[in-house]
């Protein structure tokens, strides 16, 4: 593999990793702070995708559509949090798994009923169409933009969690819920905020991914599984872990897909490529059972 190709695949892995990072934040925060598993997180990616398509068609502008879609995702997530998640916080993990599994089934069918089964499309915003020159190679501008946006979001999160009062409360909420409550903070609203934050990030991931692959019912489910793997590798409750885990998985998956078939033939090669991240997860769990960067948020 030549250096430019290596570089380009590296960028591909980075882009995938950043999308996974956006997805993982929501899952890891909800796991870590509310001790709740939410399988329907992938559905929020799907809805983000549908919302941007609808919003752009409605307003004719990508920028306006983006704002609308993010807002709609936030609204949807708040409704879900109040109706479904709140009763689940106190329940056992089995109940959470089953209830959110039921949500997935419901959401996927809802998408079919509203938007139909055919994939919906969105074109890349005109100014990002086509390749840009990246260290001498022609790399799709849009993919680069995705990586840049996700990185910006990541930095924003770091500042939010590390430098603001809300962030401090989020971190505290992970450790000592009772203490935070005694401080007079409305823990219910804090949980809603955390859930909405994670969901909007998932929606953003969906919004950004649509022009690449289009949006269709149930598209979030396979991404959900990969996200769970990222969270386990990175460590439950850790945003840093979500970033490292996401990048690790993104890069390994990208290179694995290409290299394994070359060395092991198409059949075994692609199987190994798909297995890579699970083997990694199993290894991490056995060596560091709590993930690479466990414990509190941030």
């Amino acid at each position: 593999m030549t250096t430019p190709i290596l570089l380009e695949q590296g960028f591909n892995g980075l882009q995938l990793g950043m999308i996974l990072f956006l997805m993982a934040v929501g899952v890891t925060l909800v796991f870590g702070i509310m001790d709740t598993i939410n399988l329907s997180h992938g559905s929020l990616l799907m809805f983000g995708g549908y919302f941007i398509v609808g919003a752009v068609e409605l307003t004719g502008s990508y920028g306006l559509g983006l704002v609308l879609a993010l807002f709609a995702t936030a609204l949807l997530s708040v409704i879900v949090e109040i109706l479904v998640m709140r009763p689940l916080y106190r329940r056992g993990h089995l109940d959470q798994v089953l209830a959110t599994f039921g949500l997935i089934l419901f959401f996927n069918e809802l998408a079919v009923m509203i938007w139909g089964r055919a994939p919906l499309y969105l074109s890349v915003p005109a100014f990002l169409d086509g390749p840009i020159d990246l260290f001498g190679l022609a790399y799709p501008a849009y993919r680069f933009a995705i990586t840049a946006v996700a990185a910006a979001v990541g930095s924003g999160l770091y500042l939010l969690i590390g430098r603001t009062r809300t962030g401090m409360l989020i971190r505290a909420g992970a450790d000592k819920r009772v203490v935070v409550e005694m401080m007079g903070v409305n823990i219910t609203r804090l949980y809603t905020l955390i859930f909405a934050l994670g969901s909007v990030l998932a929606g953003l991931a969906g919004i950004m991914v649509v022009p690449l692959v289009s949006v269709q019912p149930a598209m979030g489910d396979p991404i959900l599984i990969t996200t769970l793997v990222v969270v386990i590798i990175g460590g439950i409750g850790s945003i840093r872990g979500a970033l490292v885990g996401g990048l690790l998985v993104g890069v390994l998956d990208t290179f694995g897909r290409i290299l394994f078939p070359v060395y092991f033939g198409t059949g075994t090669g692609s199987a190994l490529a798909n297995m890579t991240i699970y083997i990694l997860m199993a290894a991490v769990l056995l060596w560091r059972p709590r993930g690479l960067f466990p414990a509190t948020a941030g």
Binding site: Y121, L212, T254
Partner: protein, 386 residues
């Protein structure tokens, strides 16, 4: 609880008695899941045909049973079993994709139910596995791609990179093109059906520096691949060839201008000049407001074939041998012009070249640019001992 449930079941299931005056026609296809748009389009062709026949296939009252195999071989088996046991169908049509077709045919052929496939023609059933009850009116998976392989050779291309979806149909289509292409194979890559992001594969493709690329992608994967191919700047430098399913009226809206100029091969085109095709295209446009795709056209043909056969046996569906003989004759007005079966009950076809273009009113369509090969036979029929 069990009692209530059984009682409910008894009420829900009809007490079935197959009468010679009634045709129980099954339609099994992919009506949900990733490839649902194929099945839905087949159903449209089915509906247009049924409407034209006034709901009476072969002049006989027809009861239609629709089954959704969810794009899943396991479900295909279960749905086919339901069609046989619960609905007691005499003929089944539909059959969108190779893997679900192979699965559904297991119980169907075991129960000797006449099955008329309207789309995919899996290669295992064209050779040693051929069966007197299986009629593939659509095509054999190899045919269009064999033609494309020949076309690419005719064009003088030296190195071609091949990509496709990782399942029976993908292997069939891609390997057929490779077989007929006499130049150098620059690469052969299969991606999982579920994979929609081709960034890594496109990078490798670019690294291989081929003269052209041949792909087999359908439905949502076709949309995704084409868009990413264009965004990576590859569309301008490396021409893309495929078979008809990569871009058609179902996908134009999603693919946009990225699809313009795509050269593909297919055994049918809206512009084919024969009375049956003109009637069909007009009827479809009237009902759905756009050009039909090949899925609808082939399903229309399948229904018309069944219609002709039932007419020939004068509605006597109990005489299966006569019915099969009538089907084998293929004596009906096909939208593809002359239609005839090979000895393995797969069709012998003309394959055309078409290019995605725009009409004066901005509507995208498949422009018929020529004939690649006439009367192409699939390679497996020699192994069929029927």
């Amino acid at each position: 609880m069990r009692k209530l449930f059984l009682a409910a079941l008894l009420c829900a299931a009809p007490l079935v008695q197959a009468s010679a005056e009634e045709l129980r026609l099954g339609f099994i296809s992919i009506l949900s899941g990733q490839l649902a748009l194929l099945g839905e389009e087949q159903k449209r062709g089915f509906d247009v045909a049924l409407e034209e026949l006034g709901g009476k296939v072969g002049g006989v009252e027809t009861k239609v049973f629709v089954a959704d195999n969810k794009g899943n071989p396991g479900d295909a088996v279960q749905e086919a079993t339901k069609l046989i046991d619960r609905d007691k169908v005499q003929i089944v049509t539909g059959f969108a994709a190779s893997h679900t077709t192979m699965a559904a045919l297991k119980p169907l052929l075991a129960a000797e139910v006449i099955s008329v496939g309207a789309n995919a023609g899996p290669s295992p059933l064209a050779g040693k596995g051929c069966n007197k009850n299986w009629f593939s009116t659509g095509f054999h998976n190899d045919q269009w791609d064999m033609a494309m392989g020949q076309y690419m050779t005719q064009k003088g291309l030296k190195r071609v990179y091949f990509m496709g979806m990782d399942y029976q149909a993908g292997w069939d289509h891609v390997k057929a093109a490779i077989r007929e292409f006499k130049g150098e194979k620059a690469g052969e890559v299969y991606t999982p059906i579920a994979q929609m992001d081709f960034s890594a594969e496109l990078t490798q493709l670019r690294a291989a520096k081929p003269d052209a690329v041949f792909v087999f992608y359908v439905g949502p994967n076709a949309v995704a691949f084409l868009k990413q191919y264009t965004q990576a700047g590859l569309a301008k430098t490396i021409p893309l060839y495929s078979m008809g399913a990569i871009s058609d009226p179902l996908l134009y809206k999603a693919q946009g201008d990225a699809a313009l100029g795509l050269v593909t091969t297919e055994a049918w085109n809206t512009e084919l000049d024969n009375p049956a095709n003109k009637k069909f295209v007009a009827a479809f446009r009237k009902k759905f407001g756009r050009d039909p795709t090949g899925y609808a056209a082939r399903q229309y043909d399948a229904v018309m074939l069944i219609d002709s056969a039932v007419r020939q046996v004068k509605g006597n569906l109990a005489d299966k041998d006569a019915l099969r003989a009538a089907l084998r004759k293929g004596d009906f007005q096909s939208v593809r012009g002359d239609f005839r079966f090979n000895t393995n009950q797969y069709p012998i076809l003309n394959v055309y070249v078409q290019e995605v273009s725009k009409r004066a009113n901005g509507e995208m369509y498949q422009k018929l640019t020529g004939v690649v090969v006439k009367d192409i036979k699939d390679p497996d029929y020699v192994n069929c001992k029927m």
